[in-house]
Symmetry: C2
């Protein structure tokens, strides 16, 4: 029987990072990664295969990443885990013994049970599956009007890309605004304005109850009874963690359906770890469970697991997950870190918020200058920053990461006010109007006011 | 006699931020700003008035910034400070009484004493003076070949802009590389390659000893005796702090010539503060005095002074100055925070460094993808990050600020390895190859090796 020191199941972002980091931190251990996909797509790049990229071939993670790190790759599917014998069985009939096991089995797009007509021709999901996506892309190329269900990141990005590729796109979101898990309304409205200006039709606060058609899609029916004609439907209303394999082997899942782990990503078996979309996350801020599925979060978990496979050797300085998102619509970037004002209030925080509107170059007369808007959400008494939202240009992603570091380091608005930053005309906001610090200043001013005056 | 609660002397970045922050934090106090310039230029934008911007008119700080904050503006020059009576006298013969005084008198470009011929026609400096710069710009428009002396940020940016505007430009730097106070050699070499590819001629490791000409410039003579023909010379070899007014009033300066202050920017008189280019800075990392003159640093000092004018009300969480720089050459961004490897070694730190080379979009097949290179410098034993350098695209400025926050929060490479970041195809590096975390991983690997193996 074949055996390996470290066995990783799953070949997307979390699996790759777990395997390569394990080799990096434990160079004397053998690491094997088993995945069922022949080739792996860059997960966050998937929406872009419908427009900006020339298909899936441009969106591949090269297997050289594994080979260069000395990871053995096996394309096969693990079908069961024998915890007692520490052996995995595969679809091809192999057995692979392991000392340490990392479950990185990912997630699968869900076809919601309440949706009628999901089985019709020209209804598509967005899985991390190259063959499926290539087929879906070919089908969509011949279809004119597309309804996208779900205004989360994937729905928004796919809608924008299909629109860019010349389809006639309607995006339907049940909540009052798109992207509303990540953004407060005023930022979501900006995203909606951009999408609309680019030609995407938006229907928010509305659900699709049924997809119509005999063989193929002919339209969708909304909860108000209205019917929209359509040649295709893309369903992007959520993903569920792939936990069947783990559950069969007796690993516990939490009430949200994710494999239960501790802060070092250990399951209840100290030799078995779970990371990525299939694994438990709890919020850094609210301390409650959360269903975040982001490649960046997955990679952070994978690093933590891989570094601590044999002994807890890395202090986990940041407990819990800070969801840090960003996306782009045209040349407009949207980013969010931590909690929204809405969620903070729901969870009972007494918050103060401020929004500063500036520019991402200075002077703003420079060509290519983009508006840059930063909102900060802080605790009224302590001034600890709980969240931030950004609308801006090409630097939006890293500015959002900066807010993520502010939150992870439990910095206060007072810390921000004495912080040092660097600025340059072509690369940042002006030093006199750096949005993170200006927003902190606006919060500090409110903190000094009596609550009644601040509210007025 | 006129009087004000807070009097700020100087109208550039530090003065503006000191005055407006004072109003924000002490809304019941009157604030007056006295400056001698009729209009104020965006300081970091100055090099760009020679090419990218359509002259100085596009590079103005609007006085509305002061008016909107309720700051009284006086265009006049303070000529003396009577510390005992707490009164300033001005060139126009006024007296202005104050309760608190903030010196933000800035800096002036220096014509070095060792340089012969600095008085010739068509030798220019780069002061923060609109009239002078407009006149220099008009003169330079009619001249063909320009020698720029000094390969610091201003010299590099002015050389690149004049080249862009069609001049024949030679940049002369006495040190072996340009930008070498901020960057280690390998990053400086990238900047040199870009400058050269764009048409700037570079002479490094060479000094100009004399500017030749009868009335106007005809050329420069190098220390090796070689002569270069030139129609104009721009001297950008350094700035000196404007401390005459403070010195006349008996305020102490340190051995680098800056007005001595404590960490809250107070001079030895508790009612008098100094901020910006004229004020003392010491290094956050090496704890020694340093001559940093950056608008971003100035603004941080100004905020600290203004918040603490009446009582120390804001804990200064970060002692000392972290120089955080960035600049752009074409679409290439260069950023640096903290110390270079060279300086860390000189100051006696036992360092480990790592450089990760990646891309600023993912997959790298996306249009507009730019290489992204991050070098981190950390202490071998503790892993505390001392510095970082970045070469990248449009997100370089904020990625450099992220490194600045890592340093200010005294984060270690281990903290980075458990950190969370956000990524997006169009806005950042991939989650599996985020340069800051990959460089930290490379350092962690070296930390675990015996020193002899790491060195081999």
């Amino acid at each position: 029987m074949e055996s390996t020191d470290v066995l990783v199941i799953g070949g997307s972002a979390a699996g790759i990072v777990a395997a390569t980091t394990a080799r990096s931190f434990h160079p004397d251990r053998s690491v094997t990664l088993v995945r069922k996909e022949k080739s792996v797509l860059v997960p966050c790049g998937i929406p872009y295969v419908f427009g900006t990229l020339d298909g899936c071939a441009q969106n591949q993670v090269p297997d050289a990443v594994l080979a260069n790190a000395g990871v053995t790759l096996r394309v096969d599917e693990v079908t069961s885990i024998d915890r007692e014998r520490k052996v995995c069985r595969t679809a091809e009939g192999s057995e692979i013994g392991f000392d340490k096991l990392v479950l990185a089995t990912g997630s699968t797009p869900a076809m919601p049970g309440w949706l009628e007509g999901g089985e019709l021709k020209n209804v598509f999901l967005i899985p991390k599956d190259r063959q499926y996506l290539e087929w879906a892309g070919e089908c969509l190329a011949d279809l004119r009007s597309v309804v996208v269900l779900g205004g989360g990141f994937i729905g928004v990005e796919v809608a924008d890309e299909l629109n860019r590729a010349g389809r006639d796109v309607t995006l339907v979101e049940a909540l009052p605004h798109v992207l509303s898990l990540a953004f407060d309304d005023e930022f979501a409205v900006r995203a909606e304005e951009l999408l609309t200006a680019r030609g995407v039709k938006l229907l928010t606060g509305t659900s699709v109850t049924r997809i119509d058609g005999d063989d193929a899609v002919t339209g969708v029916v909304l909860d108000g009874g209205e019917r929209i004609a359509a040649d295709a439907v893309v369903v992007a209303v959520g993903y569920r963690p792939n936990t069947e394999l783990a559950e069969q082997a007796g690993f516990e899942t939490n009430e949200m359906g994710f494999i239960r782990t501790d802060e070092y990503m250990r399951t209840d078996d100290p030799d078995v770890f779970a990371v990525g979309d299939c694994a438990e996350k709890s919020s850094f801020i609210t301390r409650t469970l959360k269903p975040t599925m982001l490649a960046s979060t997955s990679c952070a978990q994978a690093r933590i697991a891989a570094m601590n496979l044999y002994k807890l050797s890395t202090l986990r300085s940041f407990g819990g997950t800070i969801a840090i998102f960003c996306t782009a619509i045209g040349d407009g970037g949207f980013g969010a870190a931590g909690v929204t004002e809405r969620l903070a209030e729901e969870r009972g925080f007494d918050t103060v918020t401020a929004t500063f509107e500036g520019v991402d170059r200075h002077p703003g007369t420079l060509p290519g200058t983009h508006p840059q808007v930063v909102k900060l959400i802080a605790v009224r008494d302590s001034g600890i920053v709980l969240g931030g939202e950004v609308f801006g240009g090409a630097s939006t992603g890293e500015l959002t990461n900066l807010i993520g570091f502010v939150i992870q380091n439990r910095m206060t608005v007072s810390d921000l006010l004495t912080s040092q930053i660097g600025t340059h005309p072509l690369l940042t906001a002006p030093p006199t109007g750096y949005p993170l610090i200006k927003a902190a200043e606006m919060i500090a001013r409110q903190q000094r006011m009596p609550v009644s005056a601040a509210a007025s």
